[in-house]
């Protein structure tokens, strides 16, 4: 059994030696591009490992900005993969950050159409073509369904959750109970649902959605391959979530989970504990597949103001920490994005293995975040979203230089934006990148 350090090193080696779509060694555009690709990864690696790279690394983490920046509407970015690629490549070549998070944020619009996805509204489906997709929060899991989730999470997703969030998959609630397929006797009964026309239609929708997902994955993979060949590494190896957010974002919803904290706290905690191994598996599995160690974890409902310190320590942190430690033990680098403020959590989040985490910091005081995590975790961020969209390049430059001066420490710092953004003045984004590049160690 390899140690977590060996597993991490193996993932870094795979990241440093990318493959093309056919599984062969990627052909770089030039020896310079290959060198730049490696330097960029090693620069980020050094920062994550709390060492000083050659200069301050810089990563820009946008939402739909690359598409607005290229005059491509969110709707086009979701439905026209050529436009998606052209816009995303322009974004990288315009700003030349050390790494990027891929052109995957918009996702395949046609696939959502096929599935009749209820959980979100997207351009042309509930929001206008020039606006971005947004979540329709609701109680997709009912208050009395915790036992069903705890006892059989996969069965719960298949028979209960998926029929609710995908209109086209509603008939999946008729699927058989798969653990009933034990022996020849009685086996046939398990297959009867597959003879029912609505179930067959749902299976057809799954196949069609799969075909579209594959088209999209080939397109986004090609974009990333092309950018890698030009020297720009994709940062993310996959994603997973904090169990509190799994339940609070898209299962019970914000209101549901918060009422459960009072009405059925033990069930909630039990369910979050049941989700821990699944969320570890989700992140580690993705890293193994992509060969990139960094696993993105967008954090939502543990931010300042959402929960008290006591509630955070009781309901949010234990299972988030367990997922992060599980990722680290398997050689991954968790990238928790502390959306909103996290100032009241800085003491709690220090309790994590050293040099294996990359915290994206949004509205938290970066100097305090750095002080709290110094010698523990790398910090990334925190140029404010409002400054990017409404400020001037001079303001951004000054802010970024202050970050370098006050939050840089002895390495363990990566320059970047604080929150995922759609709108920004391009010259403000340039100002972030230039500030980092100007600072040699």
């Amino acid at each position: 059994m390899n140690t977590s350090e060996e597993k991490k090193e193996a993932l870094y080696q795979r990241w440093l030696n990318p493959k093309d779509g056919a599984g062969n060694d990627l052909q770089f555009q030039s020896p310079e591009a290959k060198k730049a690709y490696e330097e960029r990864i090693l620069r980020i690696k050094a920062a994550i490992e709390l060492r000083k790279p050659d200069r301050v690394p810089v990563i820009i983490m946008p939402s739909f900005f690359p598409f607005y920046n290229a005059g491509v509407s969110p709707q086009e970015a979701m439905y026209d993969y050529d436009k998606l690629g052209t816009a995303f490549k322009k974004f990288i070549h315009d700003f030349e950050p050390d790494s990027h998070i891929g052109a995957t944020a918009p996702g395949p619009g046609k696939m959502y159409d096929i599935l009749d996805y209820k959980l979100y509204s997207w351009p042309g489906h509930g929001v206008s073509p020039e606006h971005v997709y947004q979540c329709n929060e609701g109680e997709y899991m009912k208050a009395d369904e915790y036992d069903a989730l705890i006892q059989d999470p996969t069965g719960y997703f298949l028979n209960m959750y998926m029929p609710r969030i995908f209109g086209a998959l509603q008939p999946l609630q008729m699927l058989p109970f798969f653990p009933g397929m034990l022996e020849m006797y009685g086996l046939a009964y398990n297959f009867i649902p597959f003879a029912i026309p609505p179930v067959q239609a749902a299976l057809k929708a799954l196949m069609d959605a799969g075909a579209e997902a594959l088209q999209w994955a080939m397109a986004t993979g090609a974009i990333e391959g092309e950018l890698a060949a030009a020297g720009y590494p994709q940062l993310l190896g996959g994603f997973t979530k904090a169990p509190f957010d799994v339940i609070g974002d898209t299962l019970r919803g914000t209101k549901g989970i918060m009422l459960d904290m009072y009405r059925q706290p033990d069930k909630l905690i039990q369910a979050m504990e049941a989700l821990v191994p699944l969320m570890i598996k989700m992140g580690v599995g993705a890293a193994q597949q992509t060969g990139h160690p960094v696993i993105f974890m967008p954090l939502h409902k543990g931010a300042d103001g959402f929960l008290s310190d006591e509630q955070y320590r009781k309901f949010y942190w234990p299972t988030l920490r367990a997922v992060m430690v599980g990722l680290i033990e398997n050689g991954c680098i968790p990238l928790p994005a502390a959306e909103g403020g996290y100032g009241s959590r800085l003491e709690v989040i220090r309790d994590i293995p050293k040099g294996s985490t990359l915290w994206m910091i949004d509205q938290t005081d970066m100097v305090k975040a750095k002080q709290a995590l110094d010698g523990i975790a790398c910090v990334l961020g925190n140029v404010p979203l409002s400054m990017l969209s409404m400020g001037t390049p001079e303001q951004v430059k000054e802010y970024a230089e202050d970050l370098i001066k006050n939050a840089n420490g002895n390495g363990g710092f990566i320059m970047g934006n604080g929150a995922f953004f759609d709108q920004a003045k391009p010259e403000n984004v340039t100002a972030i990148v230039e500030a980092a590049k100007a600072h040699k160690y």
């Binding site: 329709n136 979203l385 409002s386 409404m390 953004f421």
Partner: protein, 210 residues
């Protein structure tokens, strides 16, 4: 007034609060007094939120208790009885944005604090705000948004209210995750609330309630 009911709601003892309310109704207590107790309890909840003892789960649960008790009390109210209000607030999430959790919390906190609130929902275009101002005659208009695009929609809405000649009579506040003083300034609003209670305080200040 039932000290017990106020305490139960304020201390998040949901079962006790509902049982007490039920008992009071059975004992033919004045519905208006029960609702007054709820409002007193909400004031305590609001204070505890402002002082950092309570957070969102408590606001959510308090809102639930309030709804449940109001539903119980309603059938007992005689025709002439009407809840006293401080003033009217028109609220909505601006065009292009469909986030509503923050807006809903502000709405019920305003309601619980004695305002008559009209909620236009989400993705509300500027002209719909203008139209609703004409009909509802609010003293305060609250614009909510979570996305960066909302800043422009807020600005546009403030502009439309101005263009319709309705700006002078009303105060406008903006709020939502990324909203800051910078955003307030950009949109041309009169104030912004960092959280739900800040929004309530602003509204109270604007209509002259202590």
């Amino acid at each position: 007034m039932s000290e017990k009911l106020v305490t139960a709601i304020a201390n998040m003892e949901e079962k006790d609060a509902l049982a007490l309310a039920k008992q009071l109704i059975a004992e033919k207590a004045d519905p208006m007094i029960i609702l007054d107790d709820c409002r007193s309890a909400m004031e305590i909840v609001g204070q505890r939120f402002e002082s950092g003892t309570y957070f969102l789960p408590e606001l959510m649960l308090a809102g639930e208790m309030l709804t449940e008790i109001t539903e119980m009390v309603k059938p007992e109210m005689s025709n002439g009885q009407k809840i006293q209000r401080h003033g009217r607030v028109l609220i909505g999430t601006v065009k292009g944005d469909i986030h509503d959790i923050g807006k809903n919390i502000v709405t019920f906190m305003l309601d619980a604090s004695g305002f008559e609130v009209k909620d236009l929902g989400v993705d509300v275009p500027a002209d719909k705000f203008v139209e609703a101002i004409r009909e509802f005659q609010p003293q305060v208009v609250a614009l909510s948004g979570f996305l960066t695009l909302a800043f422009d929609s807020m600005k546009e809405t403030v502009g439309a209210i101005q263009a319709a000649g309705l700006r002078d009579g009303i105060k406008i506040m903006v709020g939502g995750g990324p909203v800051s003083e910078e955003v307030r300034n950009y949109t041309g609003a009169d104030g912004y609330g960092k959280d739900a209670m800040a929004g309530v305080s602003l509204a109270k200040q604007w209509v002259g309630v202590k």
